[in-house]
């Protein structure tokens, strides 16, 4: 369990994190979302004691990170996969971390196998690693101490599709065994698939937080039919406002059952009818963070 309470971090001239509070609960994957520079990484750095907060606190199971006697055994951290000594081999980086935590060397081989780094790759120096390989090495470092909590900043960055699938299964399994996962990512689809809870941050402030189902519930329905104008018209007659999207789909706030009933009554064949979740997270993200987007995108 990660608890962040009224966390604030100010730099000369601007506030990177402004009164942020949320919890990441055990047994669940918590997705941490926000545009570039919203304060995600700063919040995560404060959690693990790399940055001193101006006010507020972050605790892991009720204790400050700095008070954990051997943090590697309790919290797995991956903040930046590229932050490794380029002149060290992958295996040596794991061996040093294992030695610090007091773990046997055999644990290093187990982790290398888990993240699918071959012995040849593990023997190469990190300067020759691709981003995906660094990411795998970072995951291995985080999991080395068999922790109960994972704090991962953009772990899917640079992974190939198979790697992303693997990471998803790994994190879901970790949470399924009662572990706490806090995960930031720009890949909204990835977060949508994997996260149970969401925390959305913009300009250093929390703009939304809750379970994924709650947050996306208002996303409404997406329907497709060969004659979308007729469907929109039928919905309007039934008192349901809708919009025609450019891709020929019809979106509305009403739930799918009502839209289906209206289509049936109007004698319209539907080719697709579902909760508009697919686009929901992206829409929600863009509308929630509209004020803070660099591009000034309106949802």
């Amino acid at each position: 369990m990660i608890t962040v309470e009224s966390l604030t971090r100010r730099y000369a001239g601007f506030t990177a994190v402004d009164d942020v509070s949320f919890t990441a609960r055990p047994g669940r994957v918590t997705g941490f979302l926000g545009p570039n520079g919203a304060g995600k990484s700063t919040t995560m750095r404060v959690m693990v004691g790399l940055t001193v907060p101006t006010a507020g606190s972050a605790t892991i199971d009720g204790r400050r990170f700095a008070d954990l006697p051997n943090p590697g055994l309790e919290v797995g951290v991956l903040l930046d996969a590229s932050a490794q000594h380029a002149g060290r081999t992958g295996r040596e980086i794991l061996a040093v971390a294992a030695a610090t935590m007091g773990l046997p060397g055999s644990r290093v081989d187990e982790m290398l196998e888990l993240v699918s780094l071959t012995p040849t790759e593990a023997g190469r120096r990190v300067r020759n690693y691709s981003l995906g390989m660094r990411q795998r090495l970072g995951i291995a470092t985080a999991l080395l101490g068999d922790p109960q909590v994972l704090i991962l900043d953009e772990p899917a960055n640079g992974l190939d599709p198979a790697g992303i699938r693997w990471m998803r299964d790994l994190l879901t399994g970790f949470a399924g065994r009662g572990g706490t996962v806090l995960l930031s990512s720009h890949l909204l689809h990835e977060i949508e698939v994997i996260a149970d809870d969401l925390v959305v941050i913009g300009n250093g402030r929390i703009v939304a937080s809750g379970t994924k189902d709650e947050l996306l519930a208002s996303a409404g329905t997406l329907a497709r039919t060969p004659s979308p104008r007729d469907l929109a018209h039928a919905l309007e007659q039934a008192g349901i406002p809708s919009t025609l999207a450019g891709d020929g789909s019809v979106r509305t706030e009403a739930d799918p059952a009502r839209v289906g009933a209206v289509a049936l009554a109007a004698g319209l064949a539907l080719t697709e009818l579902r909760s508009a979740e697919g686009a929901g997270l992206e829409d929600m993200f863009l509308s929630l963070t509209a004020d803070t987007q660099r591009e000034g995108v309106a949802a």
């Binding site: 369990m1 051997n70 943090p71 000594h85 060290r88 007091g102 009662g178």
Partner: protein, 268 residues
Amino acid sequence: MTATTISRDPAAPVRRTVRPIPTARLVKVELRKMFDTRSGFWLLVSIAVLSPIAAGSVVVVAPDSDVTYQSFARASGFPMSVILPMIAILAVTSEWSQRSGLTTFTLVPHRGRVIGAKAVATLLVGVGSVALAFAAGALGNVAGSAVAGLDTVWNIPWSMATQMLLGNLVGMAIGFTLGVVMRASSAAIVGYFVVSLVLPGVLQLLALVQDWFLDLQPWVDWNYTQVELFEGATNTGEEWAMLGSTTAIWIVVPLVVGLWFLRRSEVK
């Protein structure tokens, strides 16, 4: 729809009894980290290669009267007096320049402990290297005097040996301090050459043109007290006081200030 949702009710996480990380383990890890990188490895190799070569050159170059233990130990120790400070610098700065500090300081969220472990590891490397220099010098002395057909001369008294050791440790401490203050490899290395090569000339010049500085120089010029140490010439109480003064100015004060900033700085 049936109401059999599987609740992923997590049993309250079992809190394992975790013991704190012992300091001896940290020192061992830091010692390992000094030499497991490409740069660390080659610095170590250069010491191992250069010391015997330097000792060997004495046989070739030195006149018979100088085929003594002092010449050999001095020669084999010379490469170390240059390389050891570099090792001390990189031990600290690589955490920032190579950004490995992100991992180091999350595994051990007490920067003071990590820097302390680095200091102990640096000290151990210094003592070990100097012992190696004396051993290489002794071998060179035995072999060299045999080759030249001379009596083997053992002319390093204990007081001189300890001062040579101290000289090397002070050099490393200067490097370590620069590392703590600068927290960037290239800046700290340039800084080291400035304070060890440029600064002495400047202070010498100042002493030549300004009378008032002439008497003051031994108290502020750490290179001056270094030379005294390597010559084994720090004998009187006043000379030791001078060493204390330069150490305070160039090591103690900047180290305290540097550590204060280091502990509060952000690791990115």
